[in-house]
């Protein structure tokens, strides 16, 4: 019987690859430049692997798609804290990739008592990629009124103005990233973990594979990562800016959108300093316009932040605006300007082997199959709406955190994905059966900002300045 293991991309990849090399697996395709996510072992003929975003791994192992997995203990706990009887067994701490989850605040008074008092008067906003752990923390601390905002990243950018607390993962060596924050509580210390599906662990012969990892783990070079180094610096606290102070707050995207955005802003005559930031600073300065501040956050998180009044303008994609709208149909957010760049298509993708070529075919195919139909996507609400609108019957939406192509054909039946050229899709032996819509970068704003107000005028001025630059191309 075959053994399947889920291996991490990203942060843990290089160390996990060295571990597997020492274990002598002959997992040749597993390296930073990997172009294909399906891998086979040269040494163990029945051992195959797939690469996932770390966060997907505990879920994939728990639902039994994989027998084994390697990922950070943080994501294991994020699953188990909400679903304690998941079919997941923790096999072994692998002693590398150490980090800590820290609850941080930007407030001057950071005792838990002070936060509880504040929760008695209003809502404590907690921002995190670890929504379940953040909620569990809030319940354990008996915060009376709290909201957890799950974010895709950059949680440390939010306090103190846009959240009271952020639960962030601090890896050793990146103390600078959390500068200006104050540590409220250390929620979890973790390192990479070998995990197994409970059913597989009880029934399959995983012994040789597991033993080879454990033996090699014992021989890894002495662990020089010292957790204690993770000290959160305390010197700097930010002034909290009030929404009524007339200052325009702009959200700028992180990731690969940074370079084209910087170019566009420059063309519009808006000078931004330290963006993209080599040190990971998420508060770049806008030099030549008075009364404007900027923060760098994930485009995925922007619509929600704009409707909550944390930002007046945000540069995101129409795809994420649509995903937000599908979740919250009456949300007061609107597109102010199409930036006509970063064009992608949102497409429905299936395996080449599937005998369907459009949505109607697919519906018929689903009606005839017995297993629940699985739709994997980063765009949970768009995917859900697509499945609903096409009457897919009994379907499940599997949220993913990138590298969604890897899910087909074994771990999902349909993807809702964005693509520029279709190249990645073709390379993974997949085909596009439908195009949902085209998405470009855009500026969004809150519909509740009055157009006649000082703030409305200032925001309007910035949008018009950028519009001129866009139309000039």
């Amino acid at each position: 019987m075959g053994i399947k293991i889920a291996l991490p991309k990203g942060r843990l990849l290089s160390k996990t690859a060295s571990l597997l090399q020492m274990a002598g697996w002959g997992m040749d395709g597993y390296h930073e430049q990997a172009r294909l996510y399906h891998l086979k072992s040269r040494v163990y003929p029945n051992l195959s692997a797939k690469m996932f975003h770390e966060r997907d791994i505990p879920i994939q192992v728990a639902i039994g798609n994989y027998d084994l997995g390697i990922c950070g203990g943080d994501w294991v706990e994020e699953l188990l804290v909400k679903y304690p009887s998941s079919s997941l067994v923790k096999i072994r701490d692998l002693d590398y990739g150490a980090g800590s989850l820290c609850m941080v605040a930007g407030l001057a008074d950071i005792s838990m008592d002070a936060i509880r008092r504040k929760a008695g008067r209003g809502t404590i906003r907690i921002v995190s990629e670890y929504a379940n752990l953040a909620e569990s923390f809030a319940l354990e601390e008996r915060l009376r009124r709290f909201s957890v905002f799950p974010v895709w990243g950059g949680a440390e950018a939010y306090p103190p103005e846009d959240a009271e607390l952020a639960l962030i993962s601090g890896q050793n060596g990146d103390e600078g990233r959390v500068m200006g924050m104050r540590l409220v509580a250390r929620v979890l210390d973790f390192s990479a973990y070998l995990i197994a599906n409970r059913g597989s662990w009880g029934a399959k012969d995983l012994d040789r594979v597991v033993a080879s990892i454990c033996d090699s783990c014992d021989h890894l070079p002495a662990n020089e990562e010292i957790r204690e180094k993770l000290e959160i610096k305390k010197e700097k606290t930010y002034n909290i800016q009030r929404p009524e102070d007339g200052i325009i707050r702009i959200a700028l995207p992180d990731g690969h959108q940074q370079a084209p955005m910087l170019q566009l802003l420059k063309k519009a005559g808006i000078e931004v300093e330290d963006y993209p930031s080599p040190t990971g600073n998420r508060r770049p300065d806008i030099i030549n316009i008075e009364g404007v501040t900027a923060k760098v956050i994930r485009p995925q998180d922007m619509p929600l932040q704009v409707v909550n009044g944390n930002f007046d303008l945000a540069i995101t994609g129409r795809d994420w605006l649509a995903d937000h709208r599908y979740q919250f149909p009456s949300s007061p957010v609107k597109e102010l300007l199409d930036l006509k760049s970063g064009k992608v298509r949102l497409v429905a993708v299936v395996s080449q082997e599937l005998p369907v070529n459009n949505a109607a075919n697919l519906r018929k195919f689903i009606e005839e199959s017995t297993a629940p139909f699985r739709v994997a996507s980063e765009y949970v609400n768009i995917a859900d709406r697509y499945a609903r609108d096409n009457h897919f019957g009994r379907y499940r939406v599997i949220p993913t955190w990138g590298a969604t192509e890897a899910f087909l054909p074994d771990d999902a039946d349909l993807l809702i994905e964005n693509t520029e050229t279709g190249g990645t899709i073709a390379r993974h032996n997949l085909k596009i059966i439908d195009t949902l819509f085209e998405s470009t970068a855009c500026i969004i704003g809150n519909t509740r900002i009055k157009s006649g107000s000082t703030k409305g005028e200032k925001a309007g001025f910035i949008v018009e300045t950028i519009r001129a630059a866009v139309e000039d191309t």
């Binding site: 909400k82 679903y83 304690p84 009887s85 809502t123 906003r125 569990s136 809030a138 319940l139 354990e140 008996r142 915060l143 009376r144 009124r145 709290f146 909201s147 957890v148 905002f149 929600l304 409707v307 909550n308 937000h324 979740q327 919250f328 149909p329 009456s330 949300s331 009606e367 017995t370 019957g393 009994r394």
Partner: protein, 426 residues
């Protein structure tokens, strides 16, 4: 594709619904007679209503059904009601606070995630809340009301167990635990861990001389509590007000002839309890419970209003109801049949007459046998208009008018009581 019921839910069949309604009707009747008024609160409430300290334990809060509403972009979450009492307290603060005393009752479902899906995630309970008063008599009123309901349901082997949250809290404080530890142990006891207190005593041998008698002994008279009061008078004076309250309750119960068992360590219930805790069992099955929760309404932002209440678990009671308690009155049901389509309007009108007269009249729509029916009434195309067959006595008669039919049926069936009237007349 197979049609499936959602994991962790149950359907109620006609037979089960008959049991459900019987319980509900007995409960409503008793409550109304004690002067309680029925209320109903929404299925969806804000999550924050349940998260403040002193409401639900973190282990329960970790299992509530919560979600973002369609306009939940602010992150404010709503829940499917996980508890019956807190929404009533919210209702009281919202719109009834000027009344002072309120006697309220409700029949409601509550939702809690049960991970295996083997037990039901939607539970039904009927409960009462007595708000605005804090006396041993008010605690006793609730206990007696609950026992009367169970008695009218004809349940066997009902036992009453008493504990006292005030005593437990004072005890934990006395053990020198910090407030967080106290809250944790209290939560464990309330979650049903009967060994939590004893284990604590074992860790602290220096205290066990005083505590163990209190923890491990069970009593069944006010004498037991007076004994406790005697041994703790000097060493644990802070127990006195709680013991006095406790003694006040059991004295009234004793004078009314009710039996009870005192078991301080088994205080299963809710974190918001502050005074007497009572649990009701039928055999080994817990079928209800209640207690005093004086701190809940102030903690939720209301005035300093004391309150207490109880709930009976309908899902469990349904399995314990004796079929005899439910038996339908005989001779009440009439199946109305028309020989041809032309007689159908006549069938509708005679059936309507029968219903108004207090009988069950069912139209034969072509596919029904006579099973379970006392009378079969056939409408004929030619005079005499009606033929009435008695399915029990295998006799038949003919009639020309509705009055004649009613006379025949009345003569045979004796009484016209509906099921509801029968149930409540006891």
């Amino acid at each position: 594709m197979r049609v499936q019921r959602c994991k962790g839910t149950r359907d109620l069949s006609p037979d089960e619904m008959a049991r459900f309604r019987f319980i509900e009707e007995v409960f409503r009747e008793r409550c109304l007679r004690w002067g309680y008024q029925e209320v109903r609160t929404p299925t969806i409430e804000y999550l924050h209503l349940f998260t403040s300290a002193g409401t639900l334990t973190p282990s329960m809060l970790g299992r509530v059904y919560s979600f973002l509403d369609w306009d939940g972009w602010s992150g404010e979450r709503v829940v499917l009601r996980p508890d019956g009492t807190i929404p009533i307290a919210r209702l009281y603060i919202d719109s009834m606070a000027d009344r002072g005393l309120a006697r309220l009752f409700y029949v409601t479902n509550t939702f809690i995630f049960e991970e295996t899906g083997k037990k039901t995630r939607e539970r039904w309970q009927c409960g009462t809340e007595l708000i605005g008063v804090n006396t041993p008599a008010s605690d006793t009123e609730l206990i007696v009301l609950a026992l009367e309901v169970l008695n009218n349901l004809k349940l066997k082997n009902v036992t009453l167990r008493l504990s006292h949250a005030g005593l437990i809290k004072a005890l934990l404080e006395r053990l020198g635990l910090n407030p967080e530890e106290q809250a944790k142990i209290f939560d464990r006891i309330l979650d049903g861990d009967t060994k939590a207190l004893a284990a604590l005593g074992a860790d602290r041998p220096e205290m066990s001389g005083i505590l163990l008698p209190l923890l491990s002994l069970k009593g069944n008279s006010s004498g037991f509590l007076k004994n406790l009061k005697a041994i703790s008078a000097r060493s644990l004076p802070e127990f006195e007000p709680y013991l006095n309250n406790f003694i006040g309750v059991v004295r009234i119960l004793e004078s009314l002839g009710y039996k009870y068992q005192i078991d301080i360590a088994s205080g299963a219930g809710f974190e918001y309890y502050t005074g007497i805790i009572f649990q009701l069992y039928s055999g080994r099955e817990k079928i209800g419970g209640g207690g005093r929760y004086d701190a809940l309404i102030p903690a939720m932002g209301g005035d300093d209003v004391p309150a207490s209440g109880f709930a009976l678990y309908i899902d469990r009671l349904m399995n314990l109801i004796e079929p005899a308690a439910l038996r339908k009155p005989a001779g009440q049901s009439v199946l109305v049949k028309s020989e041809d389509d032309g007689g159908m309007n006549e069938a509708f009108s005679i059936a309507s007459r029968l219903r108004d007269a207090g009988y069950t009249a069912e139209l034969d729509l072509g596919s029904r046998g006579t099973e379970g029916t006392r009378w079969l009434l056939e409408i004929q195309g030619k005079p005499p208009k009606y033929r009435l067959r008695d399915m029990v006595e295998s006799s038949q008669a003919e009639a020309q008018t509705a009055e004649e039919i009613l006379t025949i049926i009345e003569g045979k069936s004796g009484n016209q009581d509906s099921l509801a009237q029968r149930a409540t007349s006891k």
